[in-house]
Symmetry: C2
């Protein structure tokens, strides 16, 4: 298959490096682009060298041109999206119509309005191509594929519950009553564990998007607005100009947070930021859980997901592990690309 | 694809019932057999009716005849093995040579000598057909596929650790110092949670077979004899004629077991029967583990597996859930059949 990659940030770069390392002789890299530049070739690029080459000598990026150059092949072209771009996502239907399969780490397309969500699947099916997005939830963890397999073999989902944000997992797995929450956030930011602006983690929207993707997988015609989201941002946080200003503001609530955590510790309970879908209700909120809960022992920045289904009714099917980071996300993307090899 | 099913016990029967329930219009059931009888058809059988039909009117089973009847199609015939038969397993290479893909719940083929193990893969590849066995470990849990995906995307396995037997999971998740081990085994047997002869669970061989399958997946040229297996059977158990006689014999060791469990409880530890592969060493043994161990909170008859890999080095990738039972096993088999639909 011929590969066309858009987005050469941490994930895209890591994907190129895994491709370079492995001898993927069935995968031919024919195009690479960032939001500004692009490189196209009739033969296969060396994934190890293309990153620098692109910086030095790429043409100006133009999506249409990027797609036009791909000749007449059908069913063996894969468009890989490692950007976080809404503009690129909105072109997916057109890209599928041009005979590309799509593999994406970008969550936007699957969380736009339901009509668009459906048209992605219809266009893929109509054109006999694939649309894969394993890295949308839990990075390289087998979350989407497991769910699709449960459903396609006739199982019924009763509930989906998970900690879907590596950042929020880390914060609440680490927080004790002896710490200032704002300091913990600040340190996490310094170590690169949060978005450059931690409000993008703390507002719960990233978790809501992932929950939406999973809920829609069950057939639910849900919109992002239908999800009840408990933001962890104190009132007024969003209007503060600077990140430093926000962290200072957050510091005002350290006492309040400490009281809550102290209370939980006294009850042998822990806080976890949990997304849950059950009985057509989707919510994202901070939960105080006890030792009996499968998420109690969660550690580090791990993601965890528990599916209760008709076949796994009491003890859920649980998947746990690192759900963020360049290497595991790129592995999720590469797994999907390999799936295109067998599917098309 | 045309489906040829051998074995209509609990799993085979459940598979027929899932096939009957779902509208799998791409799957045409053309043959069904037990060790004694078989039924073949030019058109598609109704999976809901074939079980009874076979009992009433099947011809005498003959594997060659069963396979001969399948005409000239290539690449779209799937042979499904839901038996526990060694004789059937030994025919796999020949079956692959006849252009069938194989989907199996039967662990035997993957645990015979390494030369045979390799020839299975070579014959599948040579003939352009598939060989799938997800249900070999953890029933419907995505264990084999996850491991294959890790490896094919360039990850390296550091260690594999798991509780792979639903029966032994149940026994040690339930056992307390207040119980007699032999009584617990007896009750489990009465409830159908063990093999008809519980010695087949307690000797650790089933766990060793599963560990072997996983270890070989990493490329290890391991034989079943290379695995160090701690049998839970007291000396002399194997030579006892009757199951009742064995359970009485086992009762002599209840006191000893109670002392061990009491000691573990005093240390806040628990017993788990764990298979482990690391640094080319494979072992199966009863382990006393503490609260920090990911298997401490295991409940019911759940299986659990933890992969430490280059990409999941400290916090392992963990999969947990029911790993035995007709419904989840048949789901694992059906998932593989559907994989044949996209692969061939």
């Amino acid at each position: 298959i011929d590969l066309y990659l858009v987005g050469v940030g941490t994930v895209g770069n890591e994907l190129l490096s895994i491709l370079g390392e492995s001898n993927q002789d069935q995968i031919c890299l024919k195009g690479v682009a960032t939001s500004k530049k692009m490189l196209l070739s009739e033969s296969c690029f060396d994934p190890n060298k293309i990153g620098n080459k692109l910086k030095e000598s790429g043409d100006k990026f133009d999506l249409d041109e990027f797609l036009d150059n791909t000749g007449e092949q059908k069913g063996n072209k894969v468009f890989v999206d490692c950007t976080a771009s809404t503009a690129v996502s909105q072109k997916y239907t057109a890209i599928l119509d041009r005979g590309f399969s799509i593999v994406t780490a970008n969550k936007i397309a699957n969380t736009l309005d339901y009509g668009f969500y459906q048209s992605l699947r219809e266009n893929a099916s109509k054109n006999g191509v694939s649309f894969f997005y394993e890295a949308n939830v839990g990075a390289g963890l087998p979350v989407i594929s497991t769910m699709q397999n449960l459903l396609s073999t006739g199982d019924k989902i009763i509930s989906i519950e998970g900690v879907f944000s590596g950042t929020l997992s880390y914060l609440f797995n680490t927080l004790t009553a002896k710490m200032n929450f704002s300091e913990l956030v600040n340190n996490a930011k310094s170590n690169g564990f949060t978005e450059p602006d931690p409000r993008q983690d703390l507002n719960g929207l990233d978790v809501a998007r992932k929950l939406l993707i999973l809920a829609r997988e069950t057939g639910a015609e849900l919109e992002l607005e239908d999800i009840i989201v408990e933001s962890l941002l104190p009132t007024g946080s969003e209007s503060i100009d600077s990140v430093d200003g926000f962290l200072k503001h957050l510091g005002q609530f350290d006492g309040e947070m400490r009281v809550k955590v102290k209370e939980a510790e006294a009850q042998n309970k822990r806080f976890r930021f949990i997304g849950k879908y059950e009985d057509e209700n989707a919510s994202v909120s901070l939960q105080k859980i006890g030792r009996e809960h499968p998420f109690y022992e969660l550690q580090g920045s791990d993601n965890i997901i528990a599916f209760r289904t008709r076949r796994y009714p009491n003890q859920p099917l649980v998947i746990k592990g690192a759900g963020a980071g360049a290497a595991v996300t790129a592995a999720g993307v590469l797994g999907d690309i390999q799936q295109c090899l067998v599917s098309n």
